[in-house]
Amino acid sequence: MKRKRTLFMVEVAIFAAFALLLDIIPFLSFKVWAQGGSISLAMIPIFIIAFRWGLKGGLLAGFLWGVMQLLIEPRIFVPLQAFLDYAVAFTVLGFAGLFRNQVMSATKQGKTANMLTFILLGTFLGAFLRFTAHFIGGIVFFGEYAPEGQPVWLYSLLYNGSYMLPAMILSAVLVFFLFHKQPRTLMNAN
């Protein structure tokens, strides 16, 4: 049991590093906005950890990624916005881990259709929650800095939606692909 705990910690840590890395390697992401927010593959390692270790692993990996993102390029405009954009947004990706058992058993039994369904559900849930956090963070930010009478929610929706939606689809497809091609590697933990 002890042994698993150390492996859990190390794996979550390394995959959080992996996520950050995928985000900062230039040729692996498509920059949409100069202020941060790009279509990147960075959510994939977090989802993999979530499907491997469940909710706790996913939330932890996401949280670590968020903190590192903050350490590396801080974008603090309003305290509440910083909290939402870094601490909350990345952590909630881990909610994909709610579908861990379903994904694992489908992979074990080789039921591709089931696997696809639950991987899609998990990644969409995680990415949607992250989007929500960025969306509210955006409203807080624009609310503070834009002049009065501007439709702040619309700015935030367009800004955050423009990179989150493609990134979500891309990650979901690639996570499914990885589970499909390499089920043995991804299931090792059990």
Binding site: K2, R3, T6, L7, M9, V10, E11, V12, A13, I14, F15, A16, A17, F18, L20, L21, I25, F27, L28, F30, A34, Q35, G36, I39, L41, I44, P45, I48, L60, L64, V67, M68, L71, I72, E73, P74, R75, I76, F77, P79, A82, Y145, A146, P147, E148, G149, Q150, P166, L170, V173, L174, F177, L178, K181, Q182, T185, L186, N188
Partner: protein, 266 residues
């Protein structure tokens, strides 16, 4: 590649700002983010700006590194400034171009908001420019120490954080190696539609994931072989120490806050 291996913005140096205890810097910046919103007139904004500029100068970080950190923000700064000039219609008319008027209130507000923006980014990037991520992690671990009483796994989180930071360069080299190997076999990561590029990424991702799992397993085994079993009784290689320098900076910062409270308009 050498350049890409340096993670984050850290610029090595020997200045007062570099030598401050990371806990001092984090505390100061934490409060700075709040007190920026106290300023509301010319005098109070000047105090804030002076504080930020003086810190920047004594950090002796070359200006181009600071500018590099600010690049993505310029657009936002200019954009909010223009937006305020166009939308805010307070004060007297300063300039009239056909039927379009620029009001003094709009100009003031535009400057104030952009300045606030600029100061926040300047000061927060000063932290990451003068402090390594590992130092920040150590500092946060130390500052969150009291949370251990409520069973919050401070030590474990900090350890994971350090492992993460340690592995970024390693994984980066690995990515570089694998992407070159795949490129030499004709995989093209840099051009084509999103769909093509997503397909091209699979032969890069699979070996990366496999090796990340392998590294995790090896590290976990190595830690256990050396007797790692949780946070109790572990000692540190680098000890943090608060000294006179830090106290002096705290006092100065308190003076800045007092100055702000005295000069701001109510």
């Amino acid at each position: 590649m050498n350049n890409a291996l340096i993670i984050g913005q850290y610029v090595p140096g020997n200045s007062l700002v570099h030598k401050l205890d990371p806990r001092t810097k984090i505390t100061l910046i934490f409060f700075f983010v709040f007190i920026v919103f106290l300023a509301n007139n010319v005098l109070s904004y000047s105090i804030l700006t002076l504080f930020a500029l003086v810190s920047m100068v004594i950090s002796r970080v070359p200006i181009r590194f600071i500018m590099k950190g600010l690049t993505p923000i310029w657009f936002l700064i200019v954009f909010t400034f223009i937006l305020h000039i166009i939308v805010t219609k307070e004060g007297s008319v300063w300039l009239e171009i056909y039927s379009f008027q620029i009001y003094s209130g709009g100009v003031f507000q535009g400057i104030a908001i952009s300045l606030r923006f600029f100061l926040l980014i300047l000061v927060t990037s000063l932290l990451t420019l003068t402090t390594t991520p590992i130092e920040i992690t150590d500092a946060i671990e130390d500052m969150l120490h009291p949370l251990k009483k409520v069973k919050f796994p401070v030590h474990e989180l900090a350890l994971m954080m350090s492992i993460s930071l340690r592995f970024i360069p390693t994984l980066m080299q690995e990515t570089d190696k694998i992407s070159k190997a795949q490129a030499s076999r004709g995989v093209d990561f840099r051009t084509g539609s999103i769909k093509d590029r997503a397909k091209a990424v699979v032969p890069l991702l699979i070996p990366l994931f496999v090796s990340a799992f392998k590294r995790a397993e090896e590290l976990a085994m190595a830690m256990e072989a050396r007797g790692y079993n949780g946070g109790e009784g572990r000692t540190k290689l680098r000890e943090l120490k608060i000294n006179a320098r830090d106290i002096a900076v705290y006092l100065l910062f308190i003076a800045v806050i007092a100055g702000l409270l005295l000069t701001r308009g109510y």
